[in-house]
């Protein structure tokens, strides 16, 4: 098995395992508590409205929005890590059919693995850090994957026409 296929298959398996481990940790220690918190905040907002305390109601809505912002990203990280890992393994199996030289294929494999790690990591960091760095990581990671995939698709097409 060539180096680039090893990177993709082994990297994909490890990333899938890590994504599952993150999902298990999330399901056990975070998800139920977060969902309960979101439900409580929304209920509290309407209870405040029933008590004619609209200002407190708005504060509860803000609290709900913050929790949901975090929840959406944490779930996205789990699904994207595993989804991208499956893509890496699948591409690893057929990577010898990408019609470029070994050096280009190696860089493509490194780019795919790096993007698959960095993109969800950037999304996860959005829940822990403020500022442009997490979003920049997510954007760069996804751009790297998309560009690599475009080149790989071209590589498959070249193979077909040759």
């Amino acid at each position: 098995m060539s180096t680039e296929r090893k990177i993709l298959v082994l990297g994909g398996l490890l990333l899938a395992g890590f994504g599952m481990l993150y999902g298990l940790h999330y399901a056990l220690f975070i998800e139920h508590q977060t969902l309960d918190g979101m439900g409580a905040a929304l209920t509290q907002a309407f209870v405040h409205a029933a008590e004619h305390d609209v200002l407190q109601g708005h504060a509860s809505i803000d609290s709900y929005a913050r929790l949901k912002y975090t929840y959406v990203r944490q779930v996205d990280v789990h699904s994207h890590w595993i989804g991208l890992a499956m893509l890496l393994i699948g591409l690893g199996v057929v990577f010898n059919q990408v019609s470029f030289g070994p050096q280009v294929r190696l860089w493509l494999a490194i780019a795919l693995l790096t993007g698959a790690i960095v993109f969800p990591l950037g999304v996860l960091l959005q829940t822990a850090m403020k500022g442009p760095v997490p979003s920049a990581l997510a954007v760069i990671g996804s751009a790297v994957i998309t560009t690599a995939l475009l080149i790989i698709a071209w590589g498959f097409a070249r193979q077909q026409t040759e």
Binding site: M1, V9, L10, L13, L14, A16, G17, M20, L21, G23, L24, A27, L28, H32, Q33, L35, D36, G39, L42, T43, A45, F46, V47, H48, A49, A50, E51, H52, V54, G57, H58, I61, D62, Y64, A65, K68, V72, S79, I82, G83, M86, L87, I89, G90, L91, V93, V94, Q97, A138, S142, A143, I145, T146, L149, L150, I152, A153, F156, Q159, Q160
Partner: protein, 366 residues
């Protein structure tokens, strides 16, 4: 005429007791069942659930306008139940199909895994069983709840799902370790790989799948860049306006609640289109690997591939059009999903035929 070409070494790896057969059959069955579950959910639960949630939110705003705090709490308890019902069913669908994908991917790397055939088979069975128990546990969360639970937040169904998830992680870790061991030892695996040769059917699925994944990535990037933050801000704004409107009497919030429903629908169709087009792309790529094991004529192979790729485009496109065309588009999208399921089932039948053709016949000895 049935295509009789069997790839070199493939039959040896696909014998009745092999881990590859367990993973390919288990994986395809999980994917087909997960998709069928998703289609049934989309037709019979999704829209009804959304309608009930909107109606309950309107009732909550009316109770708030009437100053009835206990009723607000009760209605939000119902909304929580509706959202849990919907969420666990979506998760059941997603986890079942994704574990199926992983099973097929594991089947592909089996020739490289440095374990005895017996251990590989045990791991394969563990993976498929855990892959069935994980979504089953998720599905039961809504119905079992916290009955007889030892915890205030986690019920027994969650324990089942989490235990199955842990078993999947263990299997995956052992497979990765054994794969690493084999690769370090540099033992030749020639004649032992699943064939990914250049047949026309395989290329069609491979290139079609890659294009679908790319389209899904581009759509996801567009959604994250232009819609995600706008949707999040809109949700907060609309919920605040629902609260404000309760001051204008019981019927003051109807318009704001309707806006909230529209926003929820807009978010749901964008996310569903993004995830489905990528999942179908990945499915097409994976199915290209199992084509050598599909014992059907070339004509029928190509027909089923065309049905699969057409359904893979129809579903996400018409999910996106649901906001403009309404339930008609929803029905067409569901039909697209059914096309994918039928094509997948046909290929599964082809793999069954293949396995029958390579298994020794009773009373016939070599």
């Amino acid at each position: 005429m049935v295509n009789q070409t069997i790839p070199l070494g493939a039959a040896a790896n696909f014998e009745a007791t092999s881990s590859q057969r367990v993973l390919v059959f288990g994986g395809l069955a999980l994917i087909a069942t997960g998709m069928l579950f998703g289609d049934i959910f989309a037709v019979f639960v999704l829209h009804q659930n959304g309608g009930q949630t909107g109606h309950a939110l309107l009732s909550a705003s009316r109770a708030a306008a009437a100053g009835n705090a206990p009723a607000v709490k009760e209605i939000f308890g119902q909304i929580g139940g509706l959202l849990e019902d919907r969420g666990t069913k979506v998760d059941t669908h997603v986890h079942m199909t994704d574990v199926g994908y992983l099973a097929i991917l594991l089947a592909l790397v089996q020739p490289y895994v440095a374990l005895s055939p017996r251990r590989k088979r045990v791991l394969a069975w563990c993976f498929v069983i855990a892959g069935a128990l994980l979504p089953a546990g998720i599905f039961l969360i809504h119905y079992v709840g916290l009955a007889y639970s030892f915890s205030a937040v986690i019920g027994w169904a969650s324990v089942l799902a989490d235990s199955a998830g842990a078993l999947l992680i263990v299997v995956l870790t052992v497979e990765a370790w054994a794969l690493w061991k084999r690769l370090r030892a540099k033992i030749s695996t020639s004649n032992a790989e699943l064939s990914v040769g250049p047949s026309r059917e395989q290329r069609l699925l491979l290139s079609g799948g890659t294009v679908l994944i790319l389209l899904g990535f581009l759509h996801g990037a567009w959604y994250a860049g232009f819609d995600l933050y706008r949707h999040e801000a809109s949700e907060t704004r609309i919920l605040n306006s629902v609260l404000d409107s309760t001051a204008h009497g019981p019927d003051g919030s109807a318009a704001a609640v309707a806006d909230y429903g529209s926003l929820a629908a807009e978010k749901a169709v964008q996310i569903a289109a993004h995830s489905h087009i990528i999942e179908f792309g990945l499915l097409a790529v994976l199915l290209s690997f199992v084509q050598p094991f599909v014992h059907l004529s070339q004509v029928w192979k190509r027909r089923w591939i065309a049905v699969l790729l057409a359904g893979s485009v129809i579903l996400p496109v018409f999910v996106l059009l649901e906001l403009k065309l309404g339930l008609v588009a929803g029905g067409i999208a569901d039909f697209g999903g059914l096309m994918v399921i039928v094509a997948l089932s046909a290929m599964l039948a082809g793999v069954l035929r293949y396995s029958g053709s390579v298994d020794p016949q009773p009373g016939i000895y070599p």
